[in-house]
């Protein structure tokens, strides 16, 4: 039963709860969801594993080196996917925890209010339970959520940075392998062309150019995707470091804006990946 005195204090309590309760973590959620989707992109793992086979197309005589190499890379596939998965899983957990839905109990309390109404509880008291109950639950949960998010980010930052850097190092190698292979493939076709001309067989020029275009286009797409992906990983790393350094302002508007900006940059960086 809510007394007249308590009813008088309700507006002040509501105002207090509204100010103290609502934590805005929309930017953190946007960043972590975008990062999770980016970490989910694993096409470059296939590219890495298949690279020796791609090289073999131009140097089949090196099969005794390249075939075992591809087999070794195949055994590394699970380890590489584990890097992606660990980042994705962490970012998804962070996104869930920063989602407002996690602490919005309005619907649940409305159901409770209806049950109270069915049980014959007066409208005013029922309304007070719904409004105050939902706010108290949200304020308490938000406090807990803020505390836990800080703990989680603090704990995750160092291993996350190492994991991202490991993945970046590998992605940078994929880019470098593709760029250098592209150059060698260019020379491969240029050599065949010069040889054909020397033999007076310039008719093959169109055929060779067509093959070169197709082969190099594929390799160049790989190189571009790897460079862009490395850039996206760099931004994920920088954004998380920013969160870590500003844990005390985790729900500030400025930090949320910054996180949204990072999310937008990550989305832009990975646009070209879909070409591959």
């Amino acid at each position: 039963m809510i007394s007249a005195h308590s009813r008088g204090a309700l507006p002040a309590l509501l105002v207090f709860l509204l100010i103290a309760g609502c934590v805005n973590l929309g930017g953190v959620r946007d960043f972590s969801e975008t990062s999770a989707r980016t970490a989910d992109y694993t096409r470059l793992v296939d590219v890495y594993v298949e690279h020796p086979g791609l090289q073999k197309r131009f140097a089949p005589e090196l099969a005794d080196i390249l075939d075992p190499e591809q087999a070794k890379r195949e055994t590394q596939r699970a380890g590489l996917l584990a890097l992606h998965q660990a980042i994705e899983e962490y970012m998804l957990a962070l996104a869930n925890l920063s989602a407002d839905e996690a602490v919005d109990y309005q619907t649940d309390f409305e159901a409770l209010g209806k049950a109270l109404g069915d049980a014959g509880v007066e409208d005013a008291q029922r309304q007070a339970v719904v409004t105050v109950g939902a706010l108290v639950a949200r304020a308490a949960s938000d406090g807990y959520r803020r505390k836990k998010i800080r703990e989680v980010i603090r704990e995750a930052n160092e291993p996350l940075q190492v994991t991202i850097q490991t993945l970046r190092d590998i992605v940078d190698q994929i880019a470098a392998e593709a760029q250098d292979l592209d150059t060698s493939v260019g020379r491969f076709y240029e050599s065949r062309l010069r040889e054909a001309r020397e033999r007076g067989n310039s008719g093959v020029e169109t055929i060779l150019s067509g093959w070169e275009y197709r082969e190099r286009d594929e390799i160049e797409k790989i190189a571009r995707a790897a460079v862009d992906y490395s850039g996206a990983l760099e931004k994920i790393s920088a954004a998380h470091e920013e969160l870590f350094l500003h844990l005390d302002e985790i729900n500030s508007d400025e930090l949320q804006r910054e996180m949204r900006f990072y999310a937008k940059e990550i989305r832009t960086a990975v646009k070209t990946l879909r070409e591959l």
Partner: protein, 129 residues
């Protein structure tokens, strides 16, 4: 001496650059080279590229080994976040149980056996959810 990943990646870069330099030399000096010399230089270029691939594979192996500890620490943080999220969901569960209990009490007051049965079911479901 154990292979360090930074040195291994650096070595792979150098081997690839050497392959490239060899290829450049072959193309620039095409007319001064005999057919056999060109073939030999091209063979060496591809062989160096294949060797750089071997070095990259080894370096990635070392990187993955080194990242093992960080991976398990990151999984620990993910689990902590999942647990916190579950706790927040448990609050919801408590409210649902309370709602179902209110329904049960109301049904008891109204002496409606059918309503009592269905609300009892709702309490059990809410508590088990």
């Amino acid at each position: 001496m154990k292979l360090d990943k930074t040195h291994a990646f650096d070595l792979a870069d150098r081997v690839r650059k050497t392959a490239n330099a060899l290829g450049d030399y072959r193309m620039k000096n095409w007319h001064e080279l005999s057919g056999m010399q060109r073939l030999e230089l091209e063979r060496l270029e591809w062989q160096l590229l294949a060797m750089s691939t071997q070095v990259v594979t080894a370096a990635v192996g070392v990187s993955l080994d080194e990242a093992d500890l960080s991976l398990s620490q990151l999984k620990g943080a993910s689990n902590k976040a999942k647990k916190a999220f579950k706790t927040l969901q448990d609050v919801r569960k408590v409210i649902r149980v309370a709602t179902a209990m209110v329904g049960l009490v109301a049904a008891g007051i109204s002496q409606n056996p059918q309503a009592i049965a269905s609300n009892l079911g709702a309490v059990v479901e809410a508590a088990a959810a």
